[in-house]
């Protein structure tokens, strides 16, 4: 059996999520399905960024009271990826909320959730 590190596993899962999310956003017709696909896409991006910071055999990058400071930079996981992810989760929630509000408003106007029906380019 091929040896797979946890980091590679994370990247594989992230790739699957991103591909599924983009495919769902592009090809599914239902607006709520598109919204769910966007949450999957943002999850995938988060997972990729967290996997970037993983260090094989490392420790959680939190300095415990008794830990040695000299060892810490060599063994701790990198924190730049997770630093972005925390913000990306929040941005994902706000984007989801705005999309959901717009979808509800358009449903009240058009009576449908089908993107091909709602987003038709007719001019007013």
């Amino acid at each position: 059996m091929i040896e797979v590190s946890l980091q590679l596993l994370g990247f594989i899962a992230a790739t699957i999520l991103v591909v599924v999310g983009i495919a769902g956003m592009l090809f599914l017709d239902n607006l709520i399905k598109k919204l769910i696909a966007f949450t999957l896409l943002s999850d995938g991006v988060n997972l990729a960024l967290v996997s970037l910071g993983y260090v094989q055999g490392g420790i959680v990058p939190i300095l415990e009271p008794g830990a040695s400071i000299s060892e810490f930079p060599n063994s701790a996981a990198l924190i730049f990826g997770p630093g972005i992810v925390l913000t990306n989760i929040v941005i994902g929630v706000s984007t989801t909320a705005i999309l959901a509000a717009l979808i509800v408003a358009l449903y009240k106007r058009c009576g449908s959730l089908k993107a091909s029906k709602v987003l038709k380019g007719e001019r007013e």
Binding site: V20, G21, L28, K33, T39, V50, P82, L86, V93, K114
Partner: protein
């Protein structure tokens, strides 16, 4: 020898994959929203395993409560099942 930790990680990756695909194939939108919540729990475990426990906690709360909550609100305000034609 079977590494228990890696086995669970494999299971969680499979869970994330199945959850993502199942959520998009589900006809009942409400059920699809629940499935994204389940997928988020698997993702939160992966975050833990990848040495980011703080993000795991955040993802567990946001991904299982807030995101499905918003989607469920949108579904309740619109319609539950996908249009067939």
């Amino acid at each position: 020898m079977i590494d228990t930790f890696m086995t669970v990680a494999y299971l969680m990756v499979i869970g994330v994959t199945i959850g993502a695909v199942a959520a998009l194939l589900q006809k009942d939108l409400l059920r699809a929203a629940y499935i994204t919540g389940a997928e988020s729990i698997a993702l939160a475990f992966l975050f833990h395993a990848l040495l980011a426990p703080d993000l795991g906690l955040t993802q567990a709360i946001v991904g299982t409560v807030l995101m499905p909550g918003i989607i469920i609100l949108a579904i309740l305000k619109t319609r539950r099942r996908e249009e067939s034609d």
